[in-house]
């Protein structure tokens, strides 16, 4: 077994079709892991949510390209960039 890889991508369909195994939905092309428009605190929290989702994705066995959504099951309050 090789090393698990999680790819954070704003344009996740492209990451999936090119064969990345664990694709994590990022915010926006300009700022994939956050949203400076939210202000420093919320930007940090939003970024942490994406990074934690990516780290979680590394622990999940997958059989093919799979999308992990940091927003799944959460309030949309911080998700301005989506």
């Amino acid at each position: 077994m090789g090393m698990p890889v999680g790819m954070i991508s704003a344009i996740y369909s492209f990451a999936l079709t090119t064969g990345a195994n664990r694709v994590v939905r990022g915010a926006r092309i300009e700022h994939v892991c956050g949203d400076p428009g939210l202000g420093p605190e919320k930007d940090y929290a939003y970024g942490m949510r994406i990074v934690r989702a990516a780290l979680h994705a590394l622990t999940v066995p997958v059989t093919g390209p799979t999308l992990f959504d940091p927003h799944a099951g959460e309030a949309e309050e911080d998700a301005h960039a989506s």
Partner: protein
């Protein structure tokens, strides 16, 4: 909407005591033309030079090539909206054009303050590199212009493009009292025959995301460059310049938009081979998956509401913008609208797909070859006898081919230069095609 386009062939350009057109010869009063250019106080230096087909001359940096067009009858102004011009809806009455020439905007001004997209286009008028572009057949009136360097890039873009348009206006106005040697009427009368109903989906880049500005300079619809929902344009509006302005490649210029062979054929064969319903302009470079899908869905819906059974699709950009373009094709096909896609292809090295997202719905594709000059193996254009514009050219990291291994370097413009990184024949001017 009925537009009569009067064509005045230009077979030679010379400087003289008055700006006038006669028997294919355009004479330009240099002082009067430059006075038009200098009407904007932001312009610091300006000069005019002429380049002719077959001449050993290199023009650098080329920001745009503009075909002079002027409204003779009917509302509005040609090339509306851009650089603060009148936004009256165009496409009716009579327009005169100078056929076989271009006004070339030669300036060091970069596209926007955020950087990234650099002006890379230079043009030769002789040799194999020149022959790759339609401009080598044109008489070129080059405006070498620099604005106040202390201004923002956005203001400098506005200044130099506005100046180039005023120069184009100045020479086109010489035809206003004259009877055009060539006339063509463009209209889309109702079709009596049950012909296939077709739209043209025309993807154009928006600089909004990369510049962070709603008003950054680029190809514009009535002057607007921001990310907007799809626009429905009558082809006559495009012929009057409602879609105009350059993007970063030699084929994405005002001249190629105004002379797009696909648009002209769609108009000319209306009522005979198909029922051309109009143009849908799709702005590209949305920056989330949702926005890209939404833009695609709404473009396809607009085509369906116009009654389209078929769509021809082009785009003028690269990279992630492919997603909204190819998903528009998918969305059209899912609504029962057959599509044909005109595009260049990406590098297939190491078995990579030549399309960024190869969707099965995009199954009718006309290739205009590879979009990279390096993949096309274009030889470095050799030395030239004369340069119009800047004496040196910076070769940027990642854009150079052959020379200096990709490192930044400043080379003499007159010497051997790598070709610009991108080729992208967006509208099918050339005859190249990628090999299966």
């Amino acid at each position: 909407m009925r537009l009569e386009v009067g064509s005045f062939p230009v077979r030679s350009i010379a400087f003289g005591s008055a700006t006038r057109w006669a028997d294919g010869r355009l004479t330009v009063d240099k002082a009067a033309a430059l006075a038009e250019v200098r009407r904007d106080g932001r312009i610091v230096t300006a000069d005019l030079e002429i380049a002719v087909p077959g001449e050993s001359v290199r023009i650098w940096p080329v920001r745009d090539v503009i075909e002079p067009r002027v409204k003779v009858e009917g509302p509005g102004q040609c090339y509306p909206g851009i650089c603060g011009r009148d936004v009256t809806t165009v496409g009716q009455g009579r327009t005169h054009r100078l056929d076989g020439m271009g006004v070339v905007e030669v300036s060091s001004v970069n596209w926007h303050d955020a950087g990234g997209d650099f002006v890379e286009t230079y043009l030769d008028m002789a040799g194999p590199f020149a022959a790759m572009y339609p401009y080598h057949r044109l008489q070129l009136l080059c405006l070498v212009v620099e604005p106040d360097p202390t201004l923002s890039d956005e203001s400098r873009n506005d200044a130099v493009h506005g100046a180039a348009l005023r120069l184009a206006d100045h020479v086109a106005r010489a035809t206003v009292p004259l009877t055009p040697p060539g006339r063509e009427v463009f209209a889309l009368p109702p079709c009596d025959e049950p012909l296939p109903r077709v739209v043209y989906v025309w993807g154009v880049h928006s600089p909004q995301a990369m510049s962070g500005s709603l008003t950054a300079f680029c190809t514009a619809t009535y002057g607007l460059t921001q990310l907007t929902p799809p626009w429905v344009l009558h082809p006559n509006e495009v012929l009057d310049g409602a879609l105009t302005g350059p993007y970063r490649t030699a084929f994405a210029m005002s001249w190629t938009v105004a002379n797009n062979p696909l648009l002209l054929d769609l108009c000319r064969r209306h009522g005979r081979d198909w029922n051309f319903l109009g143009v849908i302009v799709l702005r590209t470079e949305w920056t989330t998956q949702h926005e890209k899908q939404l833009a695609a869905n709404q473009t396809a819906k607009t085509a369906a509401m116009l009654g389209a059974q078929g769509a021809v699709v082009t785009w003028d950009a690269g990279g992630n913008e492919f997603i909204e373009v190819v998903r528009t094709i998918q969305a059209c096909e899912r609504l029962g609208i057959k599509t044909v896609f005109l595009t260049s292809e990406d590098d297939a090295t190491d078995g990579a797909p030549t399309m960024l997202e190869p969707l099965p719905e995009a199954d009718a594709i006309v290739s205009t070859s590879f979009f990279k000059n390096v993949t096309l193996q274009v030889p470095d254009p050799g030395p030239v006898a004369r340069v119009i514009g800047l004496p040196t050219k910076v070769i940027r990291r990642g854009s150079s081919v052959g020379l200096h291994g990709g490192a930044d370097a400043a080379l003499p413009t007159a010497g051997t230069l790598p070709p610009p990184g991108r080729y992208d024949d967006h509208y099918g001017f050339g005859s190249l095609s990628a090999i299966e």
